[in-house]
């Protein structure tokens, strides 16, 4: 059985994050992402999803710091790399797409130049070569008239178009892992679907693994094969996506699923999402005192097939 388990592209082991030496934000989170797999991390605001993603990239802001555990990327502990080595990994082997496409592009540089920079920094191409590659990259993210668009400034593009440019930048060097932190939250619903489709399509084609961080269960359900549910700095449940929606095991997950707005449910103001959540999940069952339910290794093998 264990022979069929492919090496994970990312293996987070007992990751602890805190302020100073206290681990009070992330209390030992472990999960694996297989090559080419899309893995979802879902949870409320403040549950620790985003800092998990940032710590993989090595971009935690002080005073936050990793206080324990390991992050194996391609079987190499990135926490043991020096600053320079980690920087080389970023953008090249691992990349990130942000929530806010409006501010994530430099307003003073053309989008073509911003994509080209990736090739100059990581591939050592000349600007002329990099520009050609940038136009190609715009074409892969289905930007119409890429040659012309490469000369546009960010403010001349719509939100969805900018997010496509962000994806082109992130995937420029064909990374092994893409971290997408709420990639569609700032976009309207129709554009959301297009952008998600694009991420899925490109990552599938290139065999890029995706760590999708979202609070949106709908997005997770559409994109991910496996999902980890986070609550108060712990991974409380990890399941196959379908299984999670059908038979959530942890009371918090059940609460989260029940809190989704549904057609015919009471209005939001009456319902009071978080109150309901707290009613459903007795406080003692949340966070610290909850047992962590982790996928058996066998399921990993299945996901990798």
């Amino acid at each position: 059985m264990s022979k069929t388990v492919p090496a994970s592209i990312l293996s987070v082991r007992d990751l602890r994050i805190g302020i100073g030496n206290q681990s009070d934000l992330l209390h030992g989170v472990s999960f694996d992402i297989l090559p080419g797999e899309t893995y979802g991390l879902v949870g409320e605001s403040g549950s620790g999803k985003s800092i998990t993603g940032l710590s993989v990239l090595g971009l935690l802001k002080r005073p936050l710091q990793v206080t324990g555990g390991s992050i194996l990327f391609r079987e190499q502990d990135v926490l043991k790399l020096n600053k320079r080595e980690r920087r080389r990994l970023r953008g090249d082997r691992m990349a990130m797409v942000f929530q806010e496409p409006m501010t994530a592009l430099n307003p003073l540089a053309t989008v073509g130049r911003q994509i080209a920079e990736m090739f100059v920094v990581h591939r050592g191409l000349s600007w002329a070569q990099a520009r050609l590659k940038a136009v190609e990259a715009l074409e892969t993210v289905h930007v119409p008239a890429p040659d012309e668009r490469a000369r546009s400034y960010p403010h001349q593009l719509s939100g969805g178009m900018r997010q496509r440019v962000m994806i082109a930048i992130a995937l420029a060097c064909r990374p092994d892992l893409l971290i997408a932190d709420e990639p569609t939250t700032a976009l309207d619903v129709t554009v959301q679907a297009e952008v998600l489709k694009l991420i899925a399509e490109l990552c599938q084609r290139e065999g890029t693994a995706v760590l999708l961080v979202s609070h949106d269960l709908g997005v997770i359900a559409n994109m991910c094969r496996r999902v980890g549910v986070m609550d108060r700095g712990r991974l409380v449940e990890e399941q196959d996506t379908r299984a999670l929606f059908e038979t959530p095991l942890h009371p918090y997950t059940r609460g989260l699923l029940a809190a989704r707005p549904r057609l015919g449910s009471r209005t939001i103001s009456e319902r009071g999402r978080l109150t309901e959540l707290d009613e459903l999940v007795a406080d003692t069952q949340r966070g610290r005192d909850a047992p962590t339910l982790v996928t058996p290794r066998g399921m990993l093998a299945e996901a990798g097939r």
Partner: protein, 273 residues
Amino acid sequence: MRLRFNLVLGLLLAAIVIIAGVFAAWIAPYHPIIDADLMNSEMPPSWEHWMGTDGQGRDVFSRVLYGAQVSLTVGLVSQLINSCIGTALGVSAGYFGGWWDDLVNGLTNVMLAIPSLVFALAIMAVLGPGLPSLLIALGLTNWSWTCRIARSSTLSLKNQGFVQAAKVAGFGDGNIMRTQILPNIIGPVLVMATLGIGGAVLAEAALSFLGVGIRPPQPSWGNMLTDARELLRAAPWAAVFPGLAIFITVLGFNLLGDGMRDLLDPHMRTRRA
């Protein structure tokens, strides 16, 4: 349209002043120092002397032309030094924060607390009079405002998405400061620098007046104003024309800086197109 107007007028005025300075030897009808005609001192503007003559009978027009050389050099070079020091310190302090930020902040506060003229005077006393030491003195004393502006702009830019995105993309700190932050703060820095040119020209005048700047009879707009002070009633033209020259220089470079800032802003560029 307004953008073009600013830029063109600024370019025109700056070009006039620069050409006057560079070609003074060919344009000037008289020698600025030797051609002193005491019999014709304090003469009002006429066909022979377009801007009149000063207290020693020297042609004011010729002296204004030659003075442009000194004043322009002082204004441009000292502002260049100021902007470089201020931007480098401000951007690095804002970007890295921590002890370096504290150090730069402390230094800036100290610089702001010392009157810059007194500090320049002290530097001049050490280095001795002359143009090179004047440039160093004025270049080292006025960077604190640029530094403050660069630092605060960097602080707000540092948390912008695109700077974070550049980090994620694996860019080094130097690269991020150069390609992401610097282009975004160049506007205010440029405006500060052009505004400072006028200040530097006047500071040179003050230092020359105190005897540590440009030594008379070598003309600079500063010491021409100083000389003319005593004749303000008898021969106001001796003060008006160097003053006018300073005014045109400051106005020209301000408009130029303003126009360049707009030109660097892609929003403005596309609006024009």
